[in-house]
Amino acid sequence: VSRIARIGATVARLALFAAAFALSARYLRPWLGGQASNLTETKIAWFVEHGEQYDTLFFGSSRAYRGFVPELFDRVTGAAGIATRSFNFGSPASRGFDAYRALERLEQQGALRELKWVLVDPEPLEWLLRAKDKESMLALGPIDWHDPATTWLVLRYIWSLEQASLSEKLAASVEHLHSCCYFAAGIGGTQALVGALLGKDLVDRTELTDRLGPRLDGWLPLDDANVSRDEQREKFQGAERQRTYERELAVRRSEVLDEGPAAPEATVFFRRLAGKIEALGATPIFVTQPSLNLQSDLVKAHRDGVVEHLLRYDDPDDPRCAPLFDVEHRWDRFHLAEKGARLFTELLAGDFAVLAGRLERQP
């Protein structure tokens, strides 16, 4: 009897513990803020203050951050009769999920009143599996979008990938679940308070131009003096690196899109992201930037009518895009150098103006 009583008492204490935990978490959550990477936080904070100036946003990873030149974009679209004022929301390792979350936060803070166009490169979804990214899954940015519904979507996507091994899928799943636990626990939610206690503003005014670029429109070219030594090493420094790149480029050229449909989870996500943008009163335009990774799910989703507007620059055999893959325009296999960024932005702006003009003429 005493053993049963002891077990009963232990179970009761565990139940009390769980109830107190759940209630505490429940009532704490509304007080917690969102928390992305430092750069995204800076951009969000800047945009909350100055968002009324901008009507066009470009979301993406470091490729967007380094490759999209807002001032040039606006000049080209203006010359084509479509006046825009654009802001580069790119941030290293950021993806479509981060874009969705940033839009949610900007909406909550009422910073998107003038929004008309959202260009977004969601990045290859297969990267959710990559070992390199697994390390960053516990960084604040990814935690912020690992709500249970999105995590479930990601897990289903990972397990649908035929080319991934069982161990890769398991390892990636553990990381995403770990991140989801962090999300559920509200980790990072007090960072604004912590920043205030430490006298460290989330938006460091002294570093603003280092982060948002000289014109404070979010673009920082890779060829400027602010680039770290590590990044310098990433540049195409020698013939060997160029040869490696050229080999990878040849592989990319040999890749062919199969006939199958996009992964259902990818379709769900693209619809969700497009729906969010439309609900904000803006038009979603997906973009594939010039890199060696074929975004097969996005391209298929466009082919199958799931994604309505897609501007592609990822085909090295397309004569218009081919120069973007020349070594002289590139920083590395992923990123464009400043010269390449300007070329890409000009192309994009021209295509955007045509598309926007057509959409504006539609009833």
Binding site: A20, L23, S24, Y182, I187, V194, G199, T206
Partner: protein, 469 residues
């Protein structure tokens, strides 16, 4: 795997449940040994062989020491073990430093010296487990301890995962007796004390140490860019960071060991409230300072000789203690500063000055002066090079820096708030109140406190500072 990560909690939960569901001493020891290997292997499985070699060597040597008929033979066995263990430590931890320092010296003397760059990976926790095993063989040699015939006992003692990679440094004489009788959950585990200690350690590490790094790291990366107030804020916060980091780890290690039925000794006892530097070393990293005293300072002769002989021993102990922390001159300087302070204190006392200002005021002044000096020494411990250290030290001592950036007064007020909480917790009033709570109230309180603690976590989990040692 870091104690504050969720995956460690899952790992520990499995270890805990299986440990207490096993019957008998042998299966439990085998299980904890296996858990230790998995825990260590998760860092880098390649170094498991090195760990097992160290264990096997000292298990065998201890038996040979015991069996050796003469003192000289015993000494030969002990020497061989120490040479191998310290040799391994030297190769993995210090070889690159020694080679580079020798090359620097040659260059200084005008010779050409271009040593090859040595990319030797430091096995995590090697400084800690080397000291674990050495304490065992030395105690056997001194006749303080019977050697264990069971390889498993020695293996479990060294690979006991709560203390494996960052201490506290366990003594065989303390730990091995635990392995002779089966642990009883009802008798040997104080669940409430362990859970409370784990949460305290978690808050120190994850909520305080990992957050204050946000001003410490940028400042030490570019001290010339900040004003003197920022220098004070960063140095004070580094004192907070390293204390919360290491004592938080120790708290969690003690709590985990306690939940498995093993009681480890206290490693930190409010060291920043020490009124003098000797007291500081009795309360900071107690397992290391007592190890250095028993196995280095006393064998060197301790204070059994002239005053200069004692000072030499103090300085040597602290310099080597500094070098133990890392292969760099900054750590040696840090040890030297503490050694100098210990010598100064002895001189002060030798001349009969004692406490020049008696009573509470004297204690308060002593505490503030000790803390100031400890912070000054931390500057050298934290800085990546001597140039940085001197720049920070100038700001710390002369309040002199004209950089444009500042953190304002906010971190100073935060530091004072943390200091007040620390001082109040020293009175152990909260601990007494928690101890008196009925079990159901403790369960409620514990459940309610975890979400706020988690919310204060910084998502970018920082490795424990002492892992690198």
């Amino acid at each position: 795997v870091i104690f504050t990560e969720f995956r460690f909690l899952f790992f520990f939960l499995i270890v805990f449940l299986v440990h207490w569901s096993l019957r008998g001493l042998l299966p439990r020891k085998l299980w904890l040994f296996a858990a230790g290997l998995v825990f260590y292997g998760a860092w880098d499985w390649r170094f498991l062989g090195l760990l097992l070699f160290s264990i096997t060597l000292d298990w065998f040597v201890a038996l040979r020491i015991h069996a050796a008929p003469t003192r000289s033979q015993k000494r030969r066995w002990l020497t061989s073990s120490i040479v191998v263990q310290l040799g391994l430590l030297s190769v993995f931890k210090y070889l690159g430093f020694f080679v580079e320092s020798a090359a620097e010296l040659l260059r200084y003397l005008g010779f050409e010296a271009h040593p090859p760059a040595l990319a030797i990976v430091l096995p995590v926790g090697i400084s800690f487990y080397t000291f674990h095993t050495m304490s065992y063989t030395i105690d056997v040699y001194r006749g303080k301890l019977e050697p264990s015939r069971s390889f498993l006992d020695i293996a479990m003692f060294v690979t006991f995962f709560p203390a494996l990679v960052a201490g506290p440094i366990i003594r065989a004489a303390h730990f091995l007796p635990y392995l002779r009788e089966n642990r009883s959950f009802a008798r040997d585990v104080n669940v409430r004390a362990c859970l409370a200690l784990f949460l305290v350690g978690f808050v120190k590490k994850a909520c305080i140490s990992d957050n204050v790094v946000q001003i410490v790291d940028p400042y030490f990366a570019n001290p010339a860019g900040y004003d003197a107030l920022a220098a004070w804020a960063a140095v004070l916060m580094y004192a907070v960071q390293i204390y919360c980091d290491f004592s938080g780890y120790s708290d969690m290690a003690l709590a985990c060991a306690g939940l498995l039925g093993y009681r480890l000794k206290l490693n930190f006892d409010y060291p920043y409230l020490s009124a003098d530097i000797r007291e500081f070393w009795r309360r900071w990293h107690i397992s290391l300072s007592s190890w250095l005293k028993d196995y280095l300072y006393i064998p060197l002769g301790g204070s059994r000789g002239s005053i200069w002989f004692t000072y030499r021993n103090l300085m040597l102990t602290m310099l080597l203690g500094g070098l133990w922390h890392g292969a760099g001159w900054n750590f040696v300087i840090w040890g030297g500063l503490h050694g100098a302070a210990l010598v100064a204190q002895r001189e002060w006392e030798r001349h009969g000055l004692g406490r020049a200002i008696p009573g509470a005021v004297g204690t308060l002044l002593g505490t503030l002066l000790t803390f100031w000096w400890v912070c000054f020494a931390w500057i050298f411990f934290r800085s990546q090079d001597l140039e940085t250290a001197l720049a920070v030290a100038r700001s710390w001592v002369l309040f002199d820096s004209s950089g444009p950036r500042t953190f304002g007064w906010a971190p100073i007020w935060t530091f004072l708030g943390l200091a007040a909480v620390h001082a109040v917790s020293y009175l152990r009033l909260v601990q007494l109140a928690v101890d008196r709570l009925p079990a159901w109230a403790f369960a409620l309180l514990y459940g309610a406190l975890i979400p706020p603690a988690l919310a204060f976590m910084n998502g970018a989990v920082q490795p424990f500072i002492y892992f690198q040692f």
